[in-house]
Subunit: 211 residues, 2 copies
Amino acid sequence: MKLHNYFRSSTSFRARIALNLKGLDYDYVSYHLRHGEQRSEKYLSVNPQGLVPALELDDGKVIAQSMAILEYLDEAFPEPALLPKDPFDRALVRSLCYAIACDIHPINNLRVLKYLGDPLGHDAEEVATWFRHWVTVEFDSLEPRLAETSGKYCVGDTVTMADICLVPQVINNTRFEVDMSRYPTINRIFDTCMALDAFDKAKPGNQPDAE
Amino acid sequence: MKLHNYFRSSTSFRARIALNLKGLDYDYVSYHLRHGEQRSEKYLSVNPQGLVPALELDDGKVIAQSMAILEYLDEAFPEPALLPKDPFDRALVRSLCYAIACDIHPINNLRVLKYLGDPLGHDAEEVATWFRHWVTVEFDSLEPRLAETSGKYCVGDTVTMADICLVPQVINNTRFEVDMSRYPTINRIFDTCMALDAFDKAKPGNQPDAE
């Protein structure tokens, strides 16, 4: 398999964690987002949506969208499972995922932050305030939820997709100085995850295209 | 079951379509988003994230996030299936879903549009331009993808989650005068879906709280 991705992209980070947890080898193909390489003809022929990550399977088929990649990996390579077995528990994990994957990340994605600058004319401090606003709104409700659902990880004592979504968001937050002192449960889960090889190997600083 | 929702919310619309397709009865509980009822104490005790929809099961458990609701309904009530059987085909459907559910809807959600107005000071025309921009970027790549994957519906001749995400977005677009003449495949799929009772009954204008 090939993972088309970028070291700093938090959705790419999700895919890397899942691949590592499943013990799957993959080729790392990098696209520099700030240079617009994800909109190059070469990449659009792989993924016409022009966003990273995309997972290219050995038969040449391509899966776009990090959450679709996580679900695919869990269906095609069931062990270790990234979702619990019970349908309600699965829904709980997914609802935590989407609180980040839908309600924080896309609003704070690079292309949106760029649009706030040009054409909308906001300066770096206004953009950072925007970023922190959407994180804070969601983390303020995530923190007490996770205090209830978590054991060692977001839901109980097993790593799930929720952890795979949470950790890259926490790392993203450091770039905009989000006040993380308000989120002791999130910080604890983050530390527990980052002690695992699968998370540590996947982090931006450990990728071949890291700057 | 109870669906906590709002007639105009396109994520609520997704949940209503899925419930109808599965032939499930539910109680309709409405929260007026423009009046902020989704942030009331009453609703926060149901869904601490303060967003609609949320599905309350008969045992009182609550599932937040429309995409988690769709996946839950498909697991708990398998017929008719909202996803194909093959793992790659499932990933394809999900990737189409997330192109809307992650990459369009959250950026154009009411709370984001409100924030553009206050505190960011943009007027209604700038907000509408924002809305159209994010729809257009994504629909421009969705259209040729759907031209390849679609039969009667987004993927082949069976309704899937992709249709459930697409139709409410198309209806949302009408409120901001998105130029839909560029998307013949999307328009065709939309018309085919809306001819089904499950979609028609779920549309905003047919809900008890419609204005």
